[in-house]
Symmetry: C2
Subunit: 244 residues, 2 copies
DNA sequence: TTGGCATTAATTGCATGCAGAGCACGAAAA
DNA sequence: TTTTCGTGCTCTGCATGCAATTAATGCCAA
């Protein structure tokens, strides 16, 4: 017969998914695809409202449609993708009121997390928080905005983790990606920066004092303020669309 | 050639999924499968810890493995199913501490929802709540426990819906299925019943008074009490396993 | 020109086939 | 007897093929 047996199964050369190969316990292609797509959506490479055609995407990612479809379903549960029957999925659009609701939800969850964290956080975690806070203030002083954002995110994640509550943490993570989209689209509002750093200091103090009510209220307010500032930043960005 | 053309695509006779055909805007098989599996898991037909073999399940549901796999992924995100690489997925087990964390999370979310609901609930929704409360008290008086549970669930869902916050509602729904599993496994503790009805009355009053702080606190405490009672019921149920 | 209908092209949804990972069972070695 | 390795089987993971649905286009009639 044909001496060259063309393999029908796994081809040898995926395209865009290799970089993740060295790290973990070898995730399935669908998980890798989900992560990759999440990143592409959050960073705006896949524009909001854009149609996600299965054949195009699967070709771009170097995988077949099956794992891609599984990944899209996951992202739909997270709210990053909108699935319509018999039609191409679309990257979810983030309307103004949705951003508002999103930050309300995050504030609710982080308040609960902060209250629990005030009771359960370990000395080591507190030490880590202090360290992150110090770094954040250094970046603030240096005017390094993007490092500030990264640290800000780490701090919030650490507080939620310190609550030792799996379901709460999962809910928080799911909402976080969507909030990140909004954050990227808004104009920098450095006006809020000073305030935010100060609020973080107060939250840290409340956690050190192991005061659940204060920690919860301060963190919820902080998130609320962030949401408000972000909405303003979005309004500005929409007003002058040339400033991409 | 062969006059009998065996159709490779969609066969004509699904098996277990027909009943849902008359209702909605025709969901895909994967969504139907997800709903069906969710129900089977919650009601305990698929026992906790049991392996979910794709070929068996797909045959039982009358669908192929592809949509089944998609459904399993969704349930994994909801935490009802545990996915292990290259192994059969298992129905997630609910350990004691997980139940505790679950109710903490639900309490957190419902507190936030109640606070928002106190500000946003409409007169019509309030009226509906009063009506549900009256029905619930009637079932209570009549000793009809299962109707009481159903109404209890409706009331909680209505309060969350009245908060007008999509992300919060989604997070709540995801957690609810898992809580329902625990509820089904615990022994009836009618001792808590009277207390629970009274707490519901107080929550309704706080919403009518449009008092966010009270509504939030009362609802969170109510959920906390429910969780504690449920843990006790689970401990009893584990102690005498013959009382299935 | 415009409205309605048939036809075609594009794309999703589902079924199935193939390759490899993991587990069980059993034989051989210690 | 216990341990280790090998062999086979079962099951998942992924790729691909077929059918059905939808949107797009052109055609005809009003």
């Amino acid at each position: 017969m044909d001496p060259v047996r063309r393999p029908r199964g796994r081809p040898r050369k995926p395209v865009l998914l290799e970089p993740a190969a060295g790290l973990g316990p070898r995730l399935g292609l669908h998980d890798q695809a989900a992560q990759r797509l999440r990143a592409l959506i959050v960073e705006g490479t896949l524009p909001a409202g854009g149609a996600l055609v299965e054949t195009e995407l699967s070709a771009a990612l170097g995988i077949s449609r099956t794992p891609l479809r599984e990944a899209l379903k996951l992202l739909a549960v997270e709210g990053l993708v909108e699935l319509r029957p018999n039609r191409s999925p679309r990257v979810a659009e983030l309307r103004r009121d949705a951003v508002s609701a999103l930050f309300e939800a995050i504030a609710t969850i982080e308040r609960g997390a902060a209250e629990l964290a005030a009771l359960r956080i370990t000395a080591a975690e507190l030490e880590r928080l202090r360290q992150l806070q110090a770094e954040m203030e250094a970046h603030h002083a240096a005017g390094d905005l993007s490092s500030y954002f990264a640290l800000n995110q780490q701090i919030h994640a650490l507080i939620v983790a310190a609550a030792r509550n799996g379901p709460l943490r999962e809910a928080h993570e799911a909402l976080h990606a969507r909030a990140e989209i909004a954050r990227r689209r808004a104009l920098d509002s450095r006006a809020r920066w000073d305030e935010s750093v100060a609020e973080h200091r107060a939250i840290l103090a409340a956690l050190e004092a192991r005061d659940p009510a204060s920690a919860g209220r301060l963190l919820a307010d902080h998130v609320g303020h962030t949401g408000t500032a972000l909405l303003a930043g979005l309004a500005e960005a929409d007003a002058e669309p040339d400033a991409a």
